[in-house]
């Protein structure tokens, strides 16, 4: 492969509520698969997408699998850059405390737990997106 060894910056944009459409789950699955290819991966949650990361989801009433716990496994997949748009949280009356704690264990630092979720403002987020090679929107 001519591109062998080239690491690109991939950004997965998540803008939809977790249930009701298949976008959130599909995005998560694509991310888990893509994680095997050792690329530079960032996840962005904005608009209703911020609901995907909320605590204490309960899907009993809608008969769908609650896949919210899977986000906490992202650290195992070496996904360490998860950005949540601050304004989207505020517009929905949410704060960082309403979100699951997402962490990864740093193998090079005696498995110390480190944060992988960052709440960032709209302006900063647009800079982050601007730096990407590939942006996939869900």
């Amino acid at each position: 492969m001519e591109d062998e060894g080239v690491v690109k910056k991939f950004c997965y944009m998540n803008r939809k509520a977790p249930y009701g459409t298949i976008y959130a789950l599909e995005s998560l699955e694509v991310v888990l698969i893509a994680a095997a290819f050792d690329q530079d991966i960032s996840l962005v949650f904005a608009d209703d997408g911020v609901y995907q990361l909320t605590n204490n989801q309960d899907t009993d009433g809608i008969g769908m699998k609650n896949f919210s716990k899977t986000y906490t496994a992202l650290g195992d997949y070496d996904i360490k850059k998860i950005y949540v748009e601050k304004e989207s949280l505020e517009e929905r009356g949410l704060t960082a405390d309403d979100l699951q704690a997402l962490k990864y264990e740093d193998e090079d630092d005696d498995w110390a737990e480190k944060d992988s979720l960052f709440v960032v403002g709209r302006e900063e987020l647009s800079k982050i997106i601007d730096e990407q090679d590939v942006v996939l929107s869900f």
Binding site: I33, A36, K69, T70, A73, D76, Y77
Partner: protein, 110 residues
Amino acid sequence: MPLEVNGQSYETDEEGYLANLNDWQPELAEAMATADGAELSDNHWEVINFLREYYEEYQIAPAVRVLTKAIGKKLGKDKGNSKYLYELFPYGPAKQACKYAGLPKPTGCV
């Protein structure tokens, strides 16, 4: 093809994965292994039980790379390598062990 254990019939998909996660019981793992011509040792069970716990916590079957790393952390470096895991599960540690554990095929496994 349904799997017969203790007079009960359990539904599986075309690759032999259990259709209903909640049907799982240790006897089913034994029966699947026997069908593959394998016998389950304590070392196999360590991995199978680990996978079930992982699924319980994260709602996914981990990819091989993630499984290997996590096993190494939990059970020691001598077990957290693909050689050890492939010796136990020659059809692929994630695929075969997940099947015995009653989990769906790991995401991204073809």
